[in-house]
Amino acid sequence: MTDVSLDTLPVEILHRILDNIDVSTIVRSVRCVCRQLYAVVNSYNRFQLDFTRFTSSDLKAIFRLIEFSKVSSLVLSGSQTSQNDINVCLKNVNIAEFTNLRSFSLFRVRNDHINEIIQHVTARSLASLTIILREFLNNRITSSIFSAIVRTNVQKLYLNNMNYTNIEISWPNQNTLQHLTIKRCTYEGYCAILDNSHSLSTLVIDDCVIQNANTMQTLYTVAASNSAKRQRTDTSIFVLLNFMIYPH
């Protein structure tokens, strides 16, 4: 076998290797090795920017050296150290420049920031959008997230702590969602999601809240159970056996 070295590998393979290297190593080390690797890094368009991980010197290099149109994955977090504060990011980063984004995550960002950020997302085909809320979601933010879902053709949407209980804001009907995770919805909200999401294959929820006559019954059994827990005496196996033998 002849000698195989890094510079004999095709550029596609080198890009696959870069997929597994952190951004600052790519732009501050790999890029500086030789002309060929410089060119390889320059043609690379799957940068993964996780702003929760950068030091301030990383940030400077990134803002200077990376074209945002070559970023495929972006993570912004509202709970960062002061130097990586989201305000700093927003000052230096124009979200609209991330035109080829495939994956976008917002962790515990304040609602006004979500609004500001989400309406500038211009990507046409987001494989995945993750928003972990920091505050209660109001109608305005919900609408702006919903319009972003349609505009960017999101396929996987994670709104892990979002409750879709207010169906005044209609679920977007032109969406391309295949995978959806939310916390809780009403029965009406559940129906609206199913009716309007024609590509949906996977739905993950904590619970669905049924708001009809049965709701009272649920509340009643929960209350009964709490009192049973306190007493720890009454629910006997024989009650159960009766129930099993003579089902209601």
Binding site: L194, T202, L203, I205, D207, T218, S225, T235, S236, M244
Partner: protein, 185 residues
């Protein structure tokens, strides 16, 4: 839609069934629920009938149901609950294995498909039923008895064990009455 996960279900069985009828094409269903009482959701024959009637494509059903208001009076409870899950439908056609256990310490009864879709770490001694033969095992936590005591169960000294009297009663009864006793190392 082919896959639905409900991680903390508070719905009544009737409401859940109503909800599931909206998606007859489901292939995968995962259901985790802490129930206030041993209600219809624990009834295997109900599930079997519902799946046969409304979820004909379902081929992966994972559930984990718990109820912590039960006072355990013997293993009869297991037979009544688990036997509907051991029909041809569950074991042969679908090959969904269901087991259940009871933790006296927290009065928690759990019934779930295997492999368990929620962590089932053994913190306390518990009664557990085999998924296929309905045999009940009593599983003891080793911290309770040192190895010496395990060897000579005729001389069980539990005076130093940090254990509630009512739980201790189960432990002693279990050792006396159950042929198969596992000691976890």
């Amino acid at each position: 839609m082919v896959s639905l996960t409900i991680n903390n279900c508070h719905m009544l069985m009737e409401d859940l069934q109503q909800l599931l009828q909206l998606t007859p094409s489901l292939i995968h269903l995962k259901l985790v629920s802490d129930r206030p009482t041993l209600d219809r959701m624990f009834v295997g024959s109900d599930w079997e009938q519902f799946i046969l009637n409304h979820l004909r494509s379902l081929n992966k059903f994972q559930f984990f149901l718990t109820c912590d208001t039960i006072v355990f009076n013997g293993e009869t409870i297991f037979n009544y609950l688990i036997s509907p899950f051991q029909s041809r439908f569950w074991l042969n056609e679908k090959q969904w294995l269901v087991t259940c256990d009871y933790v006296p310490r927290s009065s928690t009864f759990r019934i779930y498909t295997l492999p368990a879709c929620r962590s089932v770490e053994i913190r306390w001694h518990l009664f557990r039923v085999s998924a296929t033969d309905s045999k009940c095992r009593f599983i003891l936590r080793p911290t309770l008895f040192d190895t010496e005591l395990q060897r000579s169960s005729s001389n069980l000294d539990v005076s130093n064990c940090n254990i509630r009297d009512d739980v201790l009663q189960y432990v002693v009864e279990a050792i006396l009455n159950y042929k198969v006793t596992y000691f976890f190392k």
